[in-house]
Symmetry: C2
Subunit: 143 residues, 2 copies
DNA sequence: GACAAAACATGATAATAATCATATTTCGGA
DNA sequence: TCCGAAATATGATTATTATCATGTTTTGTC
């Protein structure tokens, strides 16, 4: 459903949401281990997220990755899109290029409403909100 | 969302639903071209579907693939599962092995209802029904 | 029963996604 | 202003998925 990279990225961002701030940055190696993702790989993903302004970073000593207040307002959807692009989420279930609302493939109508619900739901999930839930121990981030 | 293989398989089955019957079987090469999928590849997928009893086949001259009446009662879900396995559809959005209802990851609750709606929807879509819609030109299967 | 037409089976290659490795740039602190 | 700690950039390797190729078995027809 979501690619491995996207899942990694989401875990990393949630980890940062809970464990970082403007004046308490976290280095890659201190992110990789707790979320159980290969360090070099998550490093690449973090750089991508940083370039897309989903997360913040600073170089040099005392540097690292963190979420600014603004970053915390991003949605899960924006992370998914940053990593795997918009098309994966929205193109036809059967990969029919000509499938659309007016000339739908057989699956189109049946799932289009559910799909847009799902997308909307991803769009409404803000990082900030999710991290609150983790902090309140209503949600968990193990392994 | 769905793998390429799954999309190919779905197209092929729908094609058979519309263009085959017990006494009018279709050879791989006559399936591959209209649904625009590499012949050798769809051949492999068809064999798998046949082995899983999603579609029917017979060898030798006058042989080919087709859907029996029983085959037509299968759901889209059963095809997805036959090709990519059950786990892909049901495991945690973040790949957390320990994520479950009682100790949910932050995304779990938010999408679990939508996800089960989607699965249910896939489960309710019967091949027969979809092919009716194609025949009635309420749905289309181009490219 | 021999032949040829089809699915079936198996393995090889190519493309893409995931993982690893290393060199370069930036920046705080002595 | 120089050193080292960090992100950044780039490329190489591995694993997985998709694609291609070729040989084997079954079965209808003559």
């Amino acid at each position: 459903m979501l690619s491995k990279s996207t899942k990694y990225a989401l875990k990393a961002v949630l980890f940062l949401a809970v464990n970082s701030s403007e004046n308490s940055k976290v280095m890659v190696k201190d992110i990789a281990k707790p979320i159980n993702v290969p360090q070099a790989y998550i490093a690449k993903l973090l750089q991508k997220l940083s370039k897309e302004n989903i997360i913040s970073s600073s170089r040099g000593p005392k540097g690292g990755f963190y979420l600014s207040e603004g970053d915390r307002q991003h949605s899960v959807l924006s992370i998914i899109i940053a990593i795997e692009g918009e098309k994966k989420l929205t193109n036809c279930l059967l990969n029919l290029k000509k499938c659309n609302e007016f000339k739908p493939c057989p699956l189109h109508n049946k799932i289009s409403s559910i799909r847009s619900e799902l997308l909307q739901s991803f769009g409404e999930m803000k990082i900030d909100e999710l991290s609150q839930e983790i902090k309140a121990a209503q949600a968990f981030l193990p392994l």
